[in-house]
């Protein structure tokens, strides 16, 4: 896995400089500490930080085609490069390496921008087509790898992480609207980010930068809408067999690496299934990794040990304490580059550290199964609320929600009326495209009360809920309530949070690449063709997935109800250095300094928290959200004040590999090549 960065001088006045590219790539060194390279070809400059996984000897980047006219800097893995390569060789393309990177260069030459449609994997890449003076950025279908871009001072800048854009001179400023999206929707919503002027290239999109034309964002893939009801897959036995074959192929593809592949094993159905599939189709020893919590309320050690025993892996565990969470939190926020309402990403960061300490660079994980196969509680909740909406006066229908969340405050205690009132939100509008998400979003929006005057004024004309619907609405229109809820989860929580703040950023914070067998696009497309009863059977989740892997899993895992992954939130910051850090960042002076939140209000919240009084779910979200926003604002201010430049000095400007680049450029144009450009 890797980090990429680069720029194009659009006005011919400020060609990229070597030291600028070096500064940019130094900011994402954690993503690829094994080697650096850059390619200066004015008006373009590409840079690359490498984590060596495939073709360790030959895969250095940036890398060019036969005649050095097309260059690529690329983060990701296109697993089917093995299958694509002979197609390209048959067309006359000549290869110098065994890398998947080189396949992409030739695939672009052969098939143009449409080459991405043939790629199965995760990627964020930039191609510089020198003869056409054209830059192409591309991002994988589901947004596993990040890619940001900005226009600044006549240049188009791009990078894997926003901090690298700041290093190229873009001022580091918080975008209030992006910040607001995080509080309401739990994440920004592409193209917007929390950094003013910075665009996230949405998953499944290209950015085409032709000379003399404005950049164009072009979609090449989306989560498909389910077919009409009579075309949905209903035959359970056949569907389970088909899914099993797909899963085995997906896992096999994701074992392609020249380094050992490990697996995360949380003890839940998804990661255990992914691990079990590896065990079923290979005989290599497998290292697995998991998070345990010192706070037993969050701990799943017993479940993990059961899975480990059944699957016979060599297992490693990191036990996470409150103090661990608090002390890693500032770095986690700096890596995530957006506020977070929960601390759940932190243990994943610590887990990646554990993985790396054992020398493993690649792990399979279970993300995506909940979105594809109907795993989330929000899907069940939607089903119940839709049923409730047909008879809003019913007392029995909302009571089902208490069965769904038996441990939630109010579910089985005296406050049940208030518990149910939460889910009543939007019940009178069952046709609302965002019906499923209104209680969650509305709850988030209530924390806008903590905004200071300036932030409140800046977002007053924006409603994140309506802005998300303005973009996603057309795709939601033809879908059932369950399919709508799934689509929103794919587009917001998965792409914006799980794969980003909790995924890519955390694992690559320690140079570990996550691979997601359930997010093979063929499996996502298959999932969209399933009849809803093959996902949620009554209120039993992931019905078909359980059947597809039934022979591989121990019965307790197979029968276990989903337990959402969470980590201790406010309670991580109530003692020791963590509390000191939180008290400092949430002090009236620090709040006034960044000018985002209302110091008096926050003081009320922190007084309550630090007194050890119980906080509700929303107050926990406010505390963690405000703390993370403060940490982000501080990190970016330091960056803007020159700390990023200092960072570049901390990673000494290595002899970047453009000598090698020059050497690679040398081979004459391949006369035998017949493929069209």
């Amino acid at each position: 896995m890797c980090g990429i960065a680069g720029m194009v001088d659009r006005e011919g006045s400020r060609p990229p400089r070597r030291d600028e590219l070096a500064r940019m790539i130094a900011c994402v060194e954690h993503r690829g500490p094994d080697g650096f390279g850059l390619r200066l070809d004015p008006p373009a400059g590409l840079a690359h930080a490498r984590l060596s996984i495939i073709d360790i000897a030959g895969g250095s980047q940036p890398l060019a085609n036969e005649d050095g006219s097309v260059w690529i800097t690329y983060n990701g893995e296109v697993y089917n490069y093995v299958e694509l390569r002979p197609l390209l060789e048959a067309k006359g393309h000549r290869f110098r390496t065994r890398s998947d990177t080189e396949v992409l260069v030739h695939a672009y030459e052969e098939w143009g921008d449409a080459f991405v449609e043939r790629c199965n994997g995760n990627f964020a890449l930039a191609l510089w087509d020198a003869p056409r003076r054209r830059l192409l950025l591309a991002r994988d279908r589901l947004g596993i790898r990040p890619l940001y871009w900005a226009e600044h001072d006549g240049r188009l800048l791009f990078a894997s992480e926003i901090k690298a854009l700041f290093a190229a001179g873009l001022p580091a400023r918080i975008d209030p609207v992006g910040l607001d999206q995080c509080f309401v929707l739990w994440t920004t919503f592409a193209p917007r980010t929390v950094a003013a002027g910075v665009n996230e290239l949405p998953p499944g999109h290209l950015l085409v930068v032709d000379e003399g034309r404005p950049p164009r964002v072009v979609r090449y893939w989306d989560v498909p809408a389910p077919p009409p009801a009579d075309a949905l897959i209903t035959d359970e036995r056949r569907a389970a067999a088909e899914l099993r074959a797909l899963l085995e192929d997906s896992v096999l593809l994701r074992l392609r690496a020249d380094v050992p592949v490990g697996a995360y094993l949380s003890g839940g159905l998804d990661s255990t299934a992914a691990t079990a599939l590896v065990r079923a189709i290979t005989d290599t020893p497998l290292e697995t990794y998991s998070v345990a919590f010192a706070d037993r309320e969050y701990d799943e050690r017993a479940e993990q040990e059961l899975a480990v025993r059944a699957l016979g892996t060599r297992h490693h565990q990191v036990e996470v304490t409150y103090e661990d969470i608090a002390s890693a939190f500032p770095r986690v926020v700096e890596l995530a580059e957006k506020p977070m309402l929960r601390t759940a990403p932190v243990p994943l960061y610590l887990l990646a550290q554990l993985v790396r300490s054992h020398g493993t660079k690649v792990v399979l994980t279970g993300e995506g199964a909940d979105e594809v196969f109907g795993g989330y509680d929000i899907f069940k909740e939607t089903k119940i609320r839709q049923w409730w909406a047909r008879r809003p006066e019913s007392r029995m229908r909302p009571a089902l929600l208490r069965r769904l969340y038996p441990f939630a405050p109010g579910a089985n205690d005296r406050a049940v009326a208030f518990f149910e009132a939460f889910y009543r939100e939007g019940i009178e509008r069952p046709d609302d495209p965002a019906f499923s998400h209104r209680p969650t979003w509305r709850n988030g929006a209530r924390n806008r009360a903590f905004y200071g005057v300036a932030l409140a004024a800046a977002v007053t004309a924006h409603d994140p809920q309506e802005e998300a619907l303005a973009v996603l609405g057309p795709a939601l229109a033809g879908r059932s309530p369950l399919a709508r809820a799934e689509y929103l989860e794919f587009k917001l929580f998965l792409a914006g949070h799980l794969l980003a703040s909790q995924g890519d950023r955390m694992s690559l914070g320690h140079g570990v690449e996550g691979r997601y067998p359930f997010l093979d696009y063929r499996i996502v497309e298959f999932g969209q063709r399933l009849h809803p009863s093959l996902k949620l059977r009554g209120l039993a989740e992931k019905w078909l997935l359980r059947r597809a892997v039934a022979d591989l899993l121990p019965a307790p895992v197979l029968e276990r109800r989903k337990r959402p992954y969470t980590a201790p939130n406010v309670r991580s910051f109530l003692a020791g250095p963590g509390r000191e850090m939180a008290e400092e960042m949430l002090s009236p002076a620090a709040l006034a300094d960044h000018g985002l939140f209302d110091p008096a209000r926050v003081a009320g919240l922190t007084a309550k928290a630090f007194a050890g009084r119980p906080l509700g779910e929303r107050e926990n979200m406010a505390f963690v959200g405000i703390l993370s926003a403060q940490l982000l604002a501080r990190a970016w201010r330091r960056g803007a004040g020159g700390e990023l430049a200092a960072d570049a000095a901390r990673f000494p400007l290595r002899e970047l590999a453009d000598e090698t680049a020059a050497a690679r450029q040398a081979p004459a144009r391949d006369a035998e090549r017949t493929g069209p450009r």
């Binding site: 208030f418 518990f419 709850n443 003081a603 309550k608």
Partner: protein, 83 residues
């Protein structure tokens, strides 16, 4: 301080954390002021401060969802206790 003022002060200091207009009829649920965690805090406060016993089935929106409803509920309970 009147019963209503005391309730309002408690709500402000513990759930709103600020000087926002709070009309007597403002719904605590609609306004995001009370949820299933915080309503139990309110109940503890009412029991301790006003010496009333709150029955489980009295924790409902009719009794707890606005300043004036909580006030009316407390006065009613106190009247019953005295009677």
């Amino acid at each position: 301080m009147s019963v209503r003022d005391e309730i309002e002060q408690f709500i402000r200091e513990n759930f709103i954390f600020g000087e926002v207009a709070l009309a007597p009829e403002t719904s605590f649920v609609e306004g995001g002021i009370l949820d299933s965690t915080s309503v139990l805090e309110l109940v503890s406060f009412l029991e301790e401060r006003f010496g009333i016993g709150v029955e489980p089935d009295e924790i409902n929106l009719e009794n707890m969802d606005s300043l004036s409803r909580v006030e009316a509920y407390v006065l009613r309970k106190q009247a019953v206790a005295k009677a």
